[in-house]
Symmetry: C2
Subunit: 309 residues, 2 copies
């Protein structure tokens, strides 16, 4: 925190105890608090969540915390962008007042946090049945880390409303289920994905992309749009849609070969109810989603078809 | 709830929503709430927790809920004593006012609750490193069920203070760790075990005992007391103490053979820090604990030696 310039209107808390005092006063004043959990590296997607929180509640709080429990040992925990000064400046330009809790790992995980799940000790939250598929296939412990840290933060922030971005669709389903099952006293809001002008979904990980990679990063969105278009115009048969999308990614991969490595992780058409793959025709709504590696950067995106999460 | 007589001063809630309204008013009145979670079949042990809650807080709430997630398919979920009318009457005699939430299983577990863990779906809380030993050896999923339901209730009741009995020592350690790790905004109180005049720890499961079994039920307490006495007078060597306690149980087993079956589950001397067995001499404090079957009834008890949980 050394050398940090706190812009006007922004209150930064490094300790949970001090944050709780600030929050307690809002409660006693009978005002409401809207909460946006983040890992920092704020972009327009985050700021749109902040706007929604501001519109719905008297006060806005953010947390900025790169959560070790949702990274596996081979992932980008060490290099994940940390841009606290820029985050605070962006917030101050975006709204007149906000509280930002920036806690230490040791305070968030009093029992410590081992990178390897088998060695972890202490309390963890799992949402069974919704965490092993899609993103959970390549990242089996990701949602356990997410559900655990969101539980912690909901208990610390105690907001009336919490705001998540639809870009992390499975995360939204997992957290929604957790809030419901564990009876957290909070209203969950899921807000549309904010995109660059060409359609690329905003993501803190986009900053990893070189200019060439940025050009090809649109491949996933294009594949999802293709499925949506075919769904509307020609077929509701999920495997046919996925085959067409996969074909598009493969084609782009070949075109890019010389200048940029592209690797498909998955393309999925899943039921919003249980996140299981649609095997035949899409009956009601569905979540079309996917993940690709562009260079070493893993990008995700999704489109909701006749679904309101 | 048909035919239930609600005694004066007692408010019974069957829905979480209505309970939350009652609780909200206490908050707005800037008063405090003490909470005692129970599975009903209230005995003097529970009532002593209620007294502690009343002394510490402006209002007292209990939950009465036989939690399916903490019973395995072969345990006594079906026959666990359900004595709601007697519970409410006992409460009314014990204090002038209290709120009692008696929720339905379907409302507590919105994703349903399968008896077999492998089939369960939805959000669950686990406290790793503290749930697999001692009670967790014979009841591997017990503390997952306990941690999950206590999480739910803490989110529903939102008490300033919560009260647990030391009789369930490992449960206290697990819940304490969970509250700490997940940052529940509540003060945890652990209250001494209440005993019958001969020393038998109060337990709802004592009602299962026939008069003959009741006579032999003291075997566990006697074994623990023997270890405590030897610790004070002759040796601090944990394996020696456990051998003596086991010997006492075996002797009682032989004496009882004709009229009552006694089976030792475990006798343990564990560190209060990590609940691991003390292998050699007891250095600081320890938890002396055990479980025995008297007939088909499983009884547990413990003594804390130089420990304040």
């Amino acid at each position: 925190m050394n050398g940090l310039r706190i812009p006007p209107g922004i209150q930064v808390f490094n300790s949970i105890k001090n944050f709780r005092q600030w929050r307690r006063q809002i409660l006693l004043d009978r005002q409401t608090l809207g909460y946006v959990p983040t890992m920092g590296a704020l972009h327009r997607g985050h700021l749109s969540l902040v706007s929604k929180a501001k519109a719905a509640c008297d006060h806005v709080a953010l947390t900025i915390f790169v959560n070790p429990a949702q990274f596996s040992p081979n992932e980008d925990l060490g290099t994940y962008p940390r841009t606290l000064q820029a985050d605070l400046d962006a917030l101050a330009q975006h709204l007149d007042k906000a509280a930002v809790l920036v806690p230490q790992v040791a305070e968030m995980y009093p029992s410590g946090i081992e990178p390897e799940v088998s060695k972890q000790v202490g309390a963890f939250v799992e949402v069974k049945g919704f965490s092993h598929q899609l993103e959970g296939t390549t990242r089996p412990h990701f949602f356990r880390g997410v559900a655990t840290v969101v539980s912690k933060f909901l208990n610390i922030v105690e907001p009336e409303q919490v705001f998540f971005g639809q870009k992390d669709a499975q995360q939204c389903v997992v957290i929604q289920r957790m809030i419901h099952d564990l009876h957290f006293n909070v209203k969950m809001n899921i807000c549309s994905t904010v995109r660059e002008s060409d359609g690329l979904a905003m993501s803190s990980r986009n900053t990893y992309l070189t200019p060439i990679q940025r050009k090809y990063a649109l491949v996933l969105y294009n594949a999802l749009k293709l499925m949506e278009e075919m769904y509307e115009k020609s077929t509701k048969h999920a495997p046919t849609l996925i085959a067409a999308a996969t074909e598009l990614v493969n084609r782009t991969q070949q075109e890019a070969q010389a200048e940029c490595e592209i690797k498909l992780d998955y393309i999925s058409i899943a039921s919003p109810k249980d996140l299981n793959e649609v095997k035949g025709d899409i009956a009601d709504g569905c979540i079309m989603s996917g993940a690709v590696y562009v260079g070493k950067t893993r990008l995700i995106d999704n489109l909701m078809v006749n679904v309101n999460l």
